[in-house]
Symmetry: C2
Subunit: 119 residues, 2 copies
């Protein structure tokens, strides 16, 4: 990680920026916890994401091969989403972040309060 | 991670959303790679972040106790940023994501191309 220069063309940056779009990680851990889900189930679970943002997020995750979209020829058509193998391989890293967040949360909240007091 | 329900009040979600704002991770790994940096050095290294977005990102990271801001009483005042211990404790998890991204990048690029072809 020495002399790290995140230029616009950096492939790692390209991947991390797509993960860091606020909803991607939440969709991935929601699918990991609940298995195969329909659009509306994901929408209900992540309550405050808009329908449009969830659609965009799922399309992006599908384009990156992290989420698989299956359409069943029913009336009305049933569409289900699940993690791909690549998507599953990302979960341990996200879980590492979640464990870190759980550990650090009390200190972070404390810090934010101090910051507000000094404003 | 079973039955994960990311409600709006979830502390983990609260922390992850702030990391997932596109620039936070890049600022953290830039500071980790280069040590103490002045604002303009960070700005030059992460070339395409706007001055305003970088200011907001650094303030948020400071509020969360991930980045330390030191002001030296000089004319003009010198302001330096560095990772705190909490910020350093996050680096291994981000590096895990970076290693994953490097490994998966060729497959992800391939997948995106296929996706474009089917549009």
């Amino acid at each position: 990680m020495q002399n790290f220069h995140p230029t616009g063309n950096c492939p790692v940056r390209n991947v991390l920026c797509r993960l860091g779009d606020k909803w991607s990680m939440l969709v991935l851990i929601t699918l990991n916890a609940n298995g195969t889900m329909r659009f509306n189930d994901i929408h209900k679970t992540i309550a405050d994401v808009s329908q449009r943002m969830l659609t965009v997020t799922l399309r992006t995750l599908e384009a990156d091969g992290l989420v698989n979209r299956k359409v069943y020829a029913e009336v009305p058509p049933r569409v289900e989403y699940e993690l791909t193998e690549r998507g599953k391989s990302l979960i341990p890293h996200i879980e590492g972040l979640v464990v870190w967040a759980l550990e650090q949360m009390p200190g972070i909240i404390e810090n934010r309060k101090k910051m507000i007091q000094t404003l």
